[in-house]
Amino acid sequence: MKAPSLRRRVTWLSIAVMAVLLVALAAVTAGLMSQRLDQDLRERLDARAELASTVPMNSDLDDLADRFTDDTIRATISRDGESVAGVQEPPFGPGGPGFEPSLDADEVARLTRTVELDDGTTISLRGNPFDNHRVIAGLVFVEFVVSGVLIAAVALTFRLVARRALAPLDEMAAAARRIAAGERRLRLRPSRVDTDLGGLATSFDTMVDSLDGAVHRAERSEATMRQFLADASHELRNPAAAIGATAERLIHGHHDQAEREALALDVVRESHRLGRLVDDLLDVARLEGPVDREREPIDMVALLAEEVRRGDRAASRVGATVRLAATPTVAVPPVTGDRAALARTVTNLLDNAVHHAPAGSAVEVGLRVDGPRVIVAISNDGPGVPVEDRERIFDRFVRLDEARARDEGGSGLGLSISRAIARSHGGDVRCVDPVSGHGATFELFLPFVNAGTGEGREDDHSSDAGHGA
C-alpha cells in the first residue's frame, strides 16, 4: 500500500505528541530547577557575605579565605586592590585552569558579593554557577533517556494494541478480496456487534448480502433471458425454415399450377405465422420492461360484451360460438388499467378457448364479483388441461403435445402474455377446475382497487398459485 497504514499513522502521531510533551516537560523542569538552584546559590552567597562582614580584623587572611571557600563559593581577599589570599582569578571554570567560560557581566555581578572590612580588606565572594549547570544538564540528560525509553515503550504498546484493535479491519479487507475473487458465500459474522468495528463488519455483511442478492437476481434474470432467446430463436427458425424451403421448392421443383399455388399458400401462411410470432415476442419484451401503462377506469362488463361479440364472429368460422353467460345483477365497479392490454388478455383467452373447442360447441364467458375483485371465467368443451399441466401452460412457448401435433399455429406465448398483463394489473390468470366438470376453464382476476403496477397478485384463492412468471 502506498499510503501509510492507519496503524502506522496513529503510532507516529502519538509518538510525536508524546515527544513534544516530554520535551516541554524537560524544559519546564530544567527551567524551574535552574531557577531554584540559582536562588539557592545566591541565598548562600548572601549568608556568607553577612558572615564575612563580621569577621575580626586581625584574622589570618589565608585561613579566612579557606573558611569562606567551598565547592560552590570561593573567596578572594584583597587589600588595596592587591589580591592577598584565596583563589586567584579566574576563580571558576568547567574545564581546566586558564579556561574562563563566558559569563556575562550581569551574571558575574549577580553571583559576586563584595564585603569591605573596616581595615580596607575586601572579601570578594564568587558563586560558582557551573555546578548548577552540570546538575541541570544531568537532569536534562536523564529526562531525555527516560523519555526515549518511554516513547519506545509507548510506541511498542501502541503497535501491539493497534494491531489487535485493528485486526478486524485486516480481516475485513481479506474477506472483501476473497468475496471479490468469487467466494460469494463468505461473510464476516462478527462475534460482537456493539463495537465500532463489529458494527462495521455487520454493515459489511449486510452490504455483501444485498449485492449478492442483486447479482443473483441479475444472473437469474439473465438465465431466464438466455432461455427465452434460445426458445424465441427456435420458434422463429421453424417458420423461417419452412418459408425458405417452400420458396426453394417453388424455384426448383417441377410443379403444375395447382401445386405452385399450394406452395405459395404455404409461404403466405408461414410468413403470417412468423409475423404473429414477432408481434407476440415484442409484446413479451415490452411486458418484461418497466410497465408504463395507460390507467383509466374500465367497465369490464362492457369490455367483455364487446370481446364476446368479436370472439363469436371469429368462432363462427370454425363452427363454434361464444356466448356471455350470467352477468351480475349488481353493478360491477370499474377496474383501473390499460383498456387495450386487458382487451388483449380477454382476446387471447377467448381465442385459446375457441381454438380448442370442438366444432358446434359453445365457449361460455361468465363474469362475477368476488369481494374486492372481478372474475372473468372462460370455459370451453374441449379436451381440457390435465391438472399437472395447469401451471406449465403459462410458461412461454409451452404447447401441450396434443396441440403441437395438430400444429395449430399458436405462438405458445398467448397465455404467458395474458398472465403477465393481468399480473401487471394486480390480478392473475389461472387455469382452474372446469365449471361443468369437463373441458377447460380459465379465470381472469382483476382487483377493483389497483394499488400498484407491481406483482401484487392475490394468492388467497386457489392452492396452485405459487408459480413465478
Partner: protein, 237 residues
C-alpha cells in the same frame, strides 16, 4: 442399384413436405414422419440416412436416433432450430454424422445428405452419360466422344445440374440459384457460362445445350455418332 432411402422426421408440415419433395427430386426414396411415436414404422423403413428434427412430439430426435441406431447402424443428420452448444454436443453424442441449424437451404441439405451417403458407401455417384457426353459425378471431368474437355468447376457444376435434369428445361433462375446459391447474382452469369460450355462442347460435336426461348436451357442427348462430327475420325471407339 437401389436408390438410397432417407428417413425424414419433422413436425412442421410445410417444412417436412418441402424436404421430402426436394429429396425425392434428388432421386432418393423418402419416408416422412411428423412425430417420433411410430418407431416401428421408422425401423421398418430401413433408411440409409435419417434426417431428424430434434424437437418433435412424442419422442425427440436424439431418442429417435438412439433407438434407430440400437437396431441398425444408420447415419444421422440432425436438422434443428436448437443451436446451443449443449444441443450440438448431445447430437454428436448420440452419433450424429452432421448437424445443421434451421433455416437451412434445401440444396445445402441435399448436398450434406449426399456427402454422408457417399461417405457411408450408400451412394455411388456414377458418371452421368447423356448421349455422347459423359459428366463425371465427383470431380470436374467432362468427356465427349472420347475427348477430355477442359471445364472450370463452375461450368462442370452447371453441366452436372443440366445433365441430372436432361431433357428438361431449366430456367436461368433455377440454374443460377443451384450453382451460385440464393444470394443475389447477375443472371448474365448463367448466359456467360452456358456460352463458354457450348464453345467447349461444340468443338467435339453438335450442339447439346439448347436455348428454350423465354424459359431457359435444356441438355439433350446426342447420339454418339462418330461420323456426324468433323473430328469424329480419330475416335477410337
Amino acid at each position: 442399384m437401389e436408390p438410397p432411402r432417407i428417413l425424414v422426421v419433422e413436425d412442421e408440415d410445410t417444412l417436412r413436405r418441402a424436404m421430402a419433395d426436394s429429396l425425392t427430386d434428388e432421386g432418393y426414396v423418402v419416408g416422412a414422419f411428423a412425430d417420433g411415436r411410430d418407431l416401428d414404422a421408422m425401423v421398418a423403413f430401413s433408411a440409409d440416412l435419417a434426417v431428424l428434427d430434434v424437437m418433435v412430439p412424442g419422442r425427440d430426435g436424439f431418442q429417435i436416433a438412439a433407438a434407430l441406431r440400437a437396431r441398425r447402424d444408420v447415419p444421422v443428420l440432425f436438422v434443428t432450430a436448437r443451436d446451443a452448444l449443449d444441443d450440438r454436443l448431445t447430437g454428436f453424442g448420440v452419433g450424429a454424422d452432421d448437424y445443421v441449424v434451421k433455416p437451412v437451404a434445401l440444396v445445402e441439405l441435399a448436398a450434406r445428405a449426399r456427402a454422408i451417403l457417399r461417405r457411408t458407401g450408400h451412394l455411388h455417384i456414377d458418371t452421368l452419360t447423356v448421349g455422347d457426353l459423359t459428366v463425371h459425378g465427383e470431380e470436374p471431368r467432362v468427356v465427349r466422344r472420347g475427348a477430355e474437355i477442359d471445364v472450370t468447376a463452375t461450368e462442370w457444376r452447371l453441366l452436372l445440374h443440366l445433365a441430372r435434369n436432361r431433357g428438361r428445361t431449366l430456367s436461368k433462375t433455377q440454374l443460377l440459384t443451384h450453382v451460385w446459391g440464393y444470394d443475389a447474382f447477375d443472371p448474365n452469369l448463367v448466359e456467360v457460362h452456358i456460352s463458354a460450355l457450348r464453345r467447349k462442347l461444340e468443338a467435339h460435336g453438335p450442339r447439346v445445350i439448347s436455348t428454350v426461348r423465354g424459359v431457359g436451357y435444356r441438355l439433350d442427348a446426342v447420339d454418339p455418332d462418330p461420323g456426324a462430327g468433323d473430328n469424329g475420325a480419330g475416335d477410337p471407339s
